[in-house]
Amino acid sequence: MTQYIIRRLLQMIPITLGILTLIFSLIHLIPGDPAMQIAGEGARPEDVRAIRTALGLDQPLWKQYVTYVGNLAKGDLGTSFRTNQSVATEIKLRYPATIQLALGAMFVALLVAFPLGIISAIYRNSWIDNVARFFALLGVSMPSFWFGPLLIIAFAINHPWFPVSGRDEGFKSMVLPSVTMGLALAAILTRMIRVSLAEELNQLYVTTAVAKGVTRAKAIFRHALKNALIPVITILALQFGSLLTGAIITEQIFSWPGLGRLLIQSITTRDYPQVQASILVIALTYIMVNFLSDLLYGVVDPRIKLQ
């Protein structure tokens, strides 16, 4: 296992460096003079100069890169143009909100997918299975930026059970954003559980268990489900990363004060250090989550490690 972890960690180094380089180059992709663009039209030359110095754009490119990576290693993510504070301050404030939303979405997805997936695997090709299949199709095709407003119309305006936006009402404010974000994942998981469990139910060990007098329910829940869950767990972990990017849109719909909304706000105000730092944090979390889900795969299915 240790060897496996070390190998995976080593594989992450070039990818992380590549991502750092990509984020570093972003500011240099701004057409024309980045400092001038950031300062905006009609800015005074001294302001443009100040921005150039603040961003180190007057240094040679290699020096800028070394300083950038060096600062990151020291935990210095840069200073926001808007607040003049470390960009890390704002990120620390917003990060928990995004994670909370992602966990909420995952909870909703599990709540829907487990019963639906298990029932449709047991009653394959019945009407329940067809309903589940239709739901899965709808779930993956419906864009969140449409589903969210539909939920708002139904459950915040027509029936004011939940707030339209914000994060001030605790659990109540979490419901609609979590359902919006969880729908697609619920759809994917339902199909996954259905296929996986249906395959296990056809295995001889289930027949053997039933032949030896185990009840059908016990054969399903004690024996088949355990094995069926292996691919599901990994998909779940992998999808957590996608939830983080999905949060960018969902947070925008519900004005949820998370990292995604911070990113879009910083883009609008052309606060590039904040943009770079937000992208970096989302991307690094994504890579870390994928790394952990790979490890998890190795734990739940020891055959993977041998490959």
């Binding site: 070039p14 990818i15 590549g18 991502i19 990509l22 984020i23 972003l26 500011i27 992709l29 701004i30 057409p31 199709l137 993956v140 095709s141 419906m142 864009p143 930026f145 449409w146 407003p149 539909l150 708002i152 119309i153 305006i157 339209v164 990363g241 996608s242 983080l244 990017t245 960018i248 849109i249 925008q252 719909i253 990113l263 879009i264 883009i267 609008t268 590039y272 943009v275 992208i279 989302i282 991307a283 994504y286 890579i287 994928n290």
Partner: protein
């Protein structure tokens, strides 16, 4: 012919085909189909609910929603096709070179793919449009930069298989140069899965454009784009729900149609691609 008949019996494929034809028709014949000028404003009747004269109502500036949705199909398809063409050209070229030549080319292309795949796609698109500035061209560029990776990996895998086949060896033995072998002998044999990926990629690009426009990073007003229409409609939820409902429905139907079509094509061309396209 037999394949086509079998395909048309497939409900998902047929409904996908119908939806896609409608989408393409709307885009091409927009000036003929749209009942009003998509940018004509009737401020006296702004936010008006659907009526006989305006079946899908009027927006916040008094523009006909149906006409804007019909013209919006143009933007969606323009972005979709441009991205698919650009991304597949880059991806197929790099993938074919990577698979055929191997060595350093292969290592560089594949590491680049790894980095781009490790980065969540839409996040990279947002980042690129944020620095390049929001516009139709930049959306196409950003989506193509993240989109070519899938084609490159797919084609590389296929080329690795095909290049060992006897007809390729024969072509080389007859003195054909590398570009000719790749273009005339290798690529035609790896194109089927690329076609399927392009169909599914069209749906992905339309959805991505709508997402970027929804975030205010896509096509700029007054050009009618479904995503941007949804964003402005969101401000009037409760007051004029039709502004959010109809553009969203258009996006969903277009994406669903293309996905169905792609899925049907997988079954028609060769079901074994299903695994490779994942």
């Amino acid at each position: 012919m037999k394949n086509l008949k079998r395909l048309l019996k497939n409900f998902a494929f047929t409904s996908g085909l119908i939806l896609t034809v409608l989408l393409v028709l709307a885009a091409f014949a927009a000036p003929l189909l749209a009942p009003h000028d998509p940018n004509a404003q009737d401020t006296a009747h702004r936010l008006e609910a659907p009526s006989h004269d305006h079946p899908l109502g009027l927006d916040d500036l008094g523009r006909d929603v149906l006409s804007r949705i019909i013209f919006g199909a143009r933007v969606s398809l323009e972005v979709g096709f441009s991205v698919v063409i650009l991304a597949s050209l880059i991806g197929v070229t790099l993938g074919a070179m990577s698979g055929y030549f191997g060595g350093a080319v292969d290592v560089i292309v594949m590491r680049l793919c790894d980095i781009l795949l490790a980065f969540p796609g839409i996040l990279l698109a947002i980042a690129l449009v944020a620095v390049l500035g929001p516009s139709l061209v930049n959306v196409v560029l950003a989506l193509s930069i993240i989109g070519w990776v899938g084609y490159a990996r797919l084609v590389r895998g296929q080329v690795l298989k095909v290049r060992e086949m006897e007809f390729v060896t024969a072509a080389k033995a007859l003195g054909a140069k590398s570009p000719r072998v790749i273009l005339r002998h290798v690529l035609p044999n790896v194109m089927n899965p690329v076609i399927v990926m392009a169909t599914l990629g069209l749906a992905g690009a339309i959805l991505a454009e709508a997402s970027l426009s929804f975030l205010g990073l896509g096509v700029q007003p007054p050009t009618p784009s479904w995503g941007a229409m949804l964003t402005s409609g969101r401000r009037y939820l409760g007051l004029a729900n039709h502004l959010a409902i109809f553009p969203g429905a258009a996006i969903m139907l277009a994406v669903m149609g293309l996905n169905f079509l792609g899925d049907g094509l997988i079954d028609a061309l060769d079901p074994k691609y299903r695994k490779e396209l994942r």
